[in-house]
């Protein structure tokens, strides 16, 4: 094996040597290398190119002027009301959808954890099946259900709860319902996987000491499940802010980031703006995910898992 690395091309050897020194075994590194190379080639490299294009200046007849350096794209994003409006709308959708998703997910994960036998299997099945079904399918089903002439409105009208049909779809309510439906299975499973390692005895002890059932859940179960809740929040938030399918099928006039950026890239061919827009969005997302995680960590701090 010692002969192989001397024959490596110089640039590869430069990367390889420090990695090799840090690993305890060469064989382990060789096994991890394909995935590392894959991630570098298909994730890091494309992202660096995206970053580079965001720093070029616009071009009349091409998608962007290669080889130029300019902050035009960023200036355009920071001065355009339409683009900022789409980001604001995305974050609004993200926060509302995340709040609803995580609250429902905590409850449902708890129900699955407490259920037994056939009910437990049915509840788990109801989470896994939508998880494995394509976004497109999951989302468009809400159109016949929530449109002004749809099933839900028929039901509300016949019960005399409303006097006129409500337009959930197309509209913001429809987008939120669709988005909650998309991320809920992931959130439930993230929380459930933490709950299932928890000892029911602690909750029982709290109840023996006089805590009511809702209180025992809020004060014992929720803090213990915090690692799962954090994962659920981060996933729900990241995917809802970047949502494309639900707004694409269920939104009305106001569009979020994903739809707007697609328009700039494909119809308007303004690549320097589209890429700068994407970079700004990623920075904002990273910052808000950081804030969310730190905030939630405070609530679960005392019960931190080893």
């Amino acid at each position: 094996m010692s002969g192989t690395h001397s024959s490596l091309p110089a640039p590869i050897a430069r990367v390889w040597e420090p990695l090799r020194e840090r690993s305890r075994s060469k064989r382990a590194l060789l096994l991890m290398a394909p995935l590392l190379v894959f991630e570098l080639l298909l994730f890091v490299a494309p992202f660096l190119i995206l970053l580079r294009i965001s720093l070029t200046s616009g071009s009349q007849d091409l998608r962007y002027a290669a080889g130029t350096w300019s902050l035009e794209g960023y200036a355009e994003v920071l001065s355009s009301g339409v683009l900022q409006d789409a980001i604001l709308y995305s974050f609004k959708l993200g926060l509302i959808a995340t709040g609803i998703t995580v609250s429902i997910a905590v409850f449902y994960a708890y129900a699955i954890w407490r259920a037994e036998g056939a009910i437990k299997s049915a509840l788990l099945f109801s989470v896994i099946l939508p998880l494995l079904t394509t976004l497109v399918v999951k989302t468009y089903a809400f159109r016949p259900l929530l449109s002004p002439t749809g099933t839900v409105n028929d039901l509300l009208l016949s019960l005399n709860l409303v006097s006129e049909p409500i337009q959930f779809v197309p509209g913001t309510i429809g987008v939120i319902v669709g988005q909650v439906y998309i991320v809920l299975p992931y959130a439930v499973l993230a929380i459930y996987s933490v709950l299932s390692t928890m000892d029911w005895g602690i909750v029982e002890a709290a109840r023996d000491l006089g805590a009511s059932r809702p209180r025992s859940v809020l004060e014992i179960v929720v803090p213990q499940a915090m690692p799962g809740i954090i994962v659920a929040t981060v996933i729900s938030f990241a995917w809802s802010v970047g949502a494309y399918a639900a707004p694409g099928l269920l939104a009305s006039q106001r569009v979020p980031f994903a739809i707007e950026v697609e328009k700039r890239l494909l119809s308007n061919l303004q690549w320097e703006i589209a890429t700068a827009y994407a970079v700004i969005m990623l920075l904002l997302m990273a910052a808000s995910i950081g804030v969310l995680t730190v905030t939630l960590n405070r609530f679960g701090g005392e019960f931190e898992y080893a």
Binding site: F43, L50, Y108, A111, T133, V136, G242
Partner: protein, 267 residues
């Protein structure tokens, strides 16, 4: 009524309502595929199999099915190979390279697929791979590999490593000892990981939308394009098939392991 009874009733009503919410859209999809007219109505007014017959006559959908199958198989092979080898390597040695690998593999899952789609489109145009099956397979692998990787990490962490040492003591080489000592114990995990990779690829559409041309469109991409024009029961027919595939996959994975373990792996 006694307070506990009220709580019990509310609790049960709560989770049954969510159960309904989870399954209702899928029920709508299946039911509307049997609608006789050309509109998407729920519940259907007249039942018929007319759209199923049209499905088997339309080449667009059938070739999309072939494309999806090809991309799914490619993704499964690449993602499973990368995920299993890396998880195995990480288990042998969790030095600093391993600590670097886990977040690097995880981050693409949190980035909006639309941004990944854009960056890869730009990248593949430069690499001359634009609109090829390979580009979609590689993009899907980026999403499928984390799942395989984390499933395999959890499988390998339960594996008794003394077996590997025993195999070596008995004179087996690295490949032989992996094939005879490790593989039989982790094959269910590999199967579930591969199945997840296939399903992820089958269902993913945002990246596929950005990377496909007319001849490489997968089912979700065709369905998306069709839906943006009109609501057509044909999409429900296709979706019913997709749901059936998912059910078969869940049953297969449950037989190989069990439902509870599978649920924990998916998170």
């Amino acid at each position: 009524m006694h307070r506990e009874t009220v709580e019990n009733v509310a609790f049960r009503a709560g989770y049954l309502a969510i159960l309904t919410f989870m399954l209702l859209p899928l029920a709508v999809v299946v039911a509307t595929s049997f609608e006789a007219s050309g509109q998407l109505l729920f519940p259907p007014e007249n039942y018929s199999l007319v759209h199923y017959r049209t499905f088997f006559e339309e080449t667009t959908w059938l070739s999309a099915f072939d494309n999806s199958l090809l991309v799914g198989t490619g993704t499964t092979v690449v993602a499973t190979t990368l995920g299993v080898t890396a998880a195995f390597g990480h288990e042998l040695d969790d030095g600093r390279t391993g600590q670097l690998l886990a977040p690097l593999v995880l981050v693409p899952l949190l980035i909006p697929p639309i941004i990944l789609g854009i960056s890869m489109r730009v990248y593949f145009v430069r690499a001359g791979l634009n609109a090829s099956f390979l580009s979609i397979i590689l993009a899907h692998t980026l999403w499928a590999t984390p799942l395989v990787y984390f499933v395999m990490r959890s499988v390998f962490s339960r594996f008794d490593w003394q077996l590997l040492d025993a195999a070596k003591d008995l004179g087996a080489g690295p490949i032989q000892s992996f094939a005879y000592a490790v593989l039989p114990n982790v094959k269910h995990g590999i199967f579930v990981g591969a199945l997840l990779a296939f399903i992820v690829s089958l269902q993913e559409f945002v990246m596929a939308l950005f990377l496909s041309s007319h001849s490489t469109e997968t089912i979700p991409v065709v369905a998306w394009t069709a839906l943006r024009q009109s609501l057509d029961p044909m999409v429900s027919v296709v979706s019913t098939f997709l749901i059936l595939i998912s059910i078969v996959a869940i049953v297969a994975a449950t037989v190989a392991t069990n439902l509870e373990w599978l649920s924990k792996q998916l998170s």
